[in-house]
Amino acid sequence: MIYREAGQFKATYSADQALFPIRQDQVGVAILLVIAYIVVPFVGNDYWLGSIFIPFLVLSLAALGLNILTGYAGQLSLGTAGFMAVGAFAAYNFAIRVPAIPLLLNFALSGLCAACVGILFGVPSLRIKGFYLAVATLASQFFIEWLFTRVGWFTNYSTSGVISAPPLSIFGHSLSSVWSRYVLTLAIVTVMALGAKNMVRSSVGRAWMAVRDMDVAAEVIGIRMLRTKLLAFGVSSFYCGVAGALWAFLYLGTVEPQAFDLARSFQILFMIIIGGVGSILGSFLGAAFIVLLPIFINIGSGMFGHAFRADTITQIELILFGGLIIFFLIVEPHGLARLWRIGKEKLRLWPFPY
């Protein structure tokens, strides 16, 4: 009976509506933040920070974006990576065309560009649903990829198609160290995750979920389909766009269309399926899982004295992913986040089985 709210009676509704009403959760989140902001940057080496934590955070942000659209508003999308690409290329173009632009403003504007494109490609969602909408967003993915590979203006007529991100600095500090890039990514992701959490617990989030669960009833209580769905596309694409800009500037250091291909869209979709559809926490769990799984498989194969060839390992990875996705789709559609919640509920009753 370690995890329970016994004795924590909420005298007011405002206490009950707090971000984390249960004390153990508050403590848990505080510990997590201390670890993320203080322990990790000091303990982690450049490899862990730059090749694991930064991509994990950025992919979490993209998964969060997709989760807003698919998990909360119920609109299936396969265009996630396309919207990320818009963010990345917008950030690049702002940086080279307006060199004086502050980095954070650049990221915000890139997110807005992605939001506009997202809204545009969200228009068909008013007429089509489910599978057909997924196909329409797939078309947007291909179109955006084509645009950035073929139209030279976006890549500033670079011949290779791969361009390096300009040197970065924020408030006069150079972001040359991995450590500083990690902290910046973490800060942006924390703020945006908080924003998402706030949106889904107020009326805009309820409108999204209402549209997802029963669109006729949503309209009958006065929710406007057009505005609600397009807002979901806009906000979701904003998150994906910022994630794309971070991916290019803070993780890869290069801007290339190949980083945002269809495989990336699927990867992010798998993250929310495994992590939990319609859950903020799930976006992070799913991203952690998919980023860490290959590493664990590698370690595992190391224990067998590297008996497997590299391509065998890739295949093991694919088989595991496929199996897990089928498992979650069938057995636990709410993903790891749900398992976590069930675990907490069990803990609340522990040591009594009922």
Binding site: Y13, S14, Q17, G195, A196, N198, M199, R201, S202, S203, V204, G205, R206, A207, M209, A210, R212, D213, M214, V216, A217, A218, E219, V220, I221, G222, I223, R224, L231, V235, G278
Partner: protein, 275 residues
């Protein structure tokens, strides 16, 4: 039953409404009037067009012919969210709750038209949003108390038993503080006790808040008990319109329910037993 409220002016008027789906004539040339603070019941056999009637009133279906006047504004048809904005709320025959959301969120969603802050303010969740959420939460808690669903407020509605879901759906409709409340078979599938509770709620809402109510119900004893006025539909046509007493004695209504060959006085007792 003593009713203290005063029936007012005509608030809703349907004139010569006809609605068809392909070859099926769901409503033909139906006219009716609903007055402020009235409880009007629509009855009729299965497939008579009762649900279609509610769907026409709040804009889910668009009739091919006829006019609808609500609060002095006439239009041939309107969108459901316009109807909601004008003060019409409803429940559905097959519960249409938001299954993945908690009871609290479902009822709060019913008040979405009263929430004014933008999504950006909500993302920050400062001052105005916080106050707004809190104010609506307090209102919703009143409704929760009123309908005795305190124990399940944090439960996702998909996990609730049928009777409770019906109650939550009423709560969501009622949360919008509507002027006109449309209830499609609110007591279907309930046991006697649940039905009595539901009747009580409907009468309380009507009495305390002066809400005009149009309800569809199959249980005649309930209809006769709580309604001020009854409209009878059969095969899309209106065949009866009057007070419960008038309708009960109307030979055309008795025919529709029992077939024309039956002897009315005897079966009238059978049909309207439990009164």
């Amino acid at each position: 039953m003593v009713k203290t409220r005063v029936i007012g002016e005509v608030i809703l008027k349907l004139e010569n409404v006809s609605l068809s789906f392909g070859g099926v004539q769901a409503l033909s040339d139906v006219s009716l009037q609903v007055r402020e603070r009235q409880i009007l019941a629509i009855i009729g056999p299965n497939g008579a067009g009762k649900s279609s009637m509610l769907n026409v009133i709040n804009g889910v279906y668009h009739p091919q012919q006829g006019k609808i006047t609500f609060k002095g504004r006439t239009r041939t048809s309107m969108r459901p969210h316009d109807a909601a904005a004008m003060g019409i709320a409803r429940t559905f025959q097959n519960i249409a709750l938001f299954k993945g959301m908690t009871v609290l969120d479902n009822i709060l969603a019913g008040r979405n038209l009263m929430m004014r802050t933008s999504f950006l303010e909500q993302a920050l969740y400062l001052g105005r949003t916080k106050r707004e959420e809190l104010a609506h939460r307090e209102k919703v808690e009143e409704i929760i108390d009123f309908l005795h669903i305190q124990a399940v407020r944090k439960t996702p509605v998909g996990r609730l038993p049928y009777g409770l879901q019906k109650r939550v759906e009423l709560a969501r409709a009622f949360a919008a503080e509507p002027e006109l409340l449309l209830l499609d078979e609110p007591m279907a599938g309930m046991n006697l006790e649940e039905k009595e509770d539901m009747c009580r709620f409907i009468l309380d809402v009507n009495e305390q808040f002066g809400t005009t109510i149009v309800l569809i119900e199959h249980d005649m004893s309930v209809v006769m008990d709580i309604s001020d006025h009854v409209v009878v539909l059969d095969f899309g046509r209106k065949i009866g319109d009057g007070t419960p007493d008038e309708v009960r004695r109307d030979p055309r209504v008795i025919d529709a329910y029992l077939g024309p060959t039956q002897a009315a006085p005897y079966h009238e007792k059978e049909l309207f037993h439990g009164m």
